[in-house]
Amino acid sequence: MPRNPLAVLPRRGLMLLAILLAVLCALPWLAGDYVLTVLITILYFAFVGQAWNIMMGFAGQLSLGHAIYVGLGAYTAALLYVHFGIGPWIGMLAAIAIAAACGAAIGFLAFRFGVAGVYFAILTIAFAEFARIGFDHLGFLGGSGGLFLPVANYARNDIWNLRGSPMMFYYVMLVLTAAALVLCHLLLESRTGYYWRAIREDEEAARSLGIDTFRYKMLAVVISAGMTAIAGMFFAFYYNNLFPEQVFHVSRSIELILGPIIGGIGTLFGPIIGAFLMTGLSELMQNLLASFGLDVPGARQVFYGACLLGVVLLLPDGVWPWMAARLGLSRPRA
């Protein structure tokens, strides 16, 4: 039976993936509290990066307002928990539904009326800004004063209510990130994944091959938004406080797309590698600065900028394609 040699990840790749997973499983037992919080942040960014990548990397639709889906997911899950005592996993389903509906609304407006490219990106920013300002005035969500979850009791891990130690949050995020990777892999190898790539490459040509581009772009936005809402739920329960100024801010939207851009847009491992590089290195740099007794405000942003500049100049396809070639895992860009 003829198989496509390109579709099969080399055995070496699977081995490296298994080793990586084993290391990630073992890490919390070796790492201290601080490193653990950094790792949680890394996994969080890997997850949202993966979700954003579905829209931009796979389907070619640039969203610069993904914070809206994080925020909607976070507020929905938190609201249900605080006001109605509904646990986060049920709340997550509501969060997914609301964020997906919001994504569908934005997608419908844009794709039905031919808003594309830069204008689409601006539209996504606009909606995130509407949300930021709007949520400031929603009293039952705490408004600008913030919405707070009852602070976690660290004595016992309660996975159903997501109350517990950082170690528990780490494993929850690890499972979510791994699941996102598997989901994205399956999507990419499905008809939908190929149709997304066709749309990304040339929408008119895609249409001429019988692809209902409106439907598939909508699907990309809805899946991406729903996935991002899961990260929002996690965000709410991990940090226990939500402020519209923070969660919906445009810098949040930008922050979450840096990982996939640096790691490699449209690749499966790009968002993960990117998250490790961005968060890992920036934390390292801040520690170095601190150990020299320096406190430089804004150093992180400068670092992000420098990383972005370096990648754009040296590895425009991102770090992962380059790394994959070095590791002998190379396959053409997905």
Binding site: A198, D202, E204, L209, P332
Partner: protein, 242 residues
């Protein structure tokens, strides 16, 4: 025999410019039909209306008894009309095989089945050995053939080819002609082509339609059409008739 495609009194106007004026013709199933005419004659406009990119201002386009004017390009493709673009538009970052695979998935949602179909089409078009290459790296003749392969993979009843010979060397043109003729003979595929390369038109087409300034000035067999004084005057030029 009922026509596969009937174009009935179709007109299209771009502001002041009458791009197509009351064009009618019919294409029988299994035939090869060519549209020729000088630049700006309205050939691509006609194509774009059949393919659903443009909506005619007047008239009807009927595919096997069903009106298709005003449908979206993807809907028309799903009804069995595939097209190539005059300026080739492969999916540049994807492999040759994946390009064709995307076309094949229209009828075969299962990726593996579609991939096998794509490989068959690639063999037909002499692209099988290049299937792992990235489309952007191909030479122009290869990209032209990829464009045909991708359209063909959708399993059309009618294939619209917009200047697939342009820019090819004579040997490459002959190769494309023989591929198209085989396709037509073996699977009964109906082909409508826009073409400037007269040697391809003369050997391939059973029926030729000549457009000039949006008007149909002649139609008939290739041999008859090239002898028409109006055609020679407006398009071919006396020396072009080989």
């Amino acid at each position: 025999m009922s026509a596969l495609l009937e174009v009935q009194r179709v007109s299209k106007r771009f502001r002041g410019l009458l791009a197509l004026d009351n064009i009618s013709f019919r294409i029988e199933p299994g035939s090869i039909f060519a549209v020729i005419g000088p630049n700006g004659a309205g050939k691509t406009t006609l194509f774009n209306m059949i393919a659903g990119v443009l909506v005619p201002d007047g008239g009807a386009i009927v595919l096997q008894g069903q009106h298709i004017e005003g449908l979206r390009p993807d809907e028309i493709c799903r009804r069995g009309v595939a097209r190539t673009f005059q300026l080739v538009r492969p999916f540049p970052a994807l492999s040759v095989e994946d390009n064709v695979l995307i076309g094949a998935m229209l009828q075969l949602p299962d990726v593996r089945a579609a991939r096998m179909r794509a490989q068959d089409v690639l063999r037909q078009l002499d692209l099988f050995d290049k299937r792992a290459r990235i489309a952007a790296e191909l030479t122009l003749p290869d990209r032209k053939r990829l464009e045909v392969a991708r359209a063909l993979a959708t399993g059309p009843r009618l294939l619209l080819l917009d200047e697939v010979m342009a820019g090819l060397r004579p040997a490459e043109t002959d190769r494309m002609v023989s591929i198209l003729r085989d396709l037509n003979r073996e699977s009964g595929l109906t082909i409508l082509l826009i073409e400037h390369v007269m040697r391809a038109v003369m050997t391939l087409a059973a029926h030729v339609l000549v457009l000039h300034h949006g008007a149909l000035i002649a139609q008939g067999s290739p041999a008859a059409v090239v002898r028409e004084p109006t055609v020679v005057h407006s398009y071919l030029g006396a020396e072009a008739v080989e």
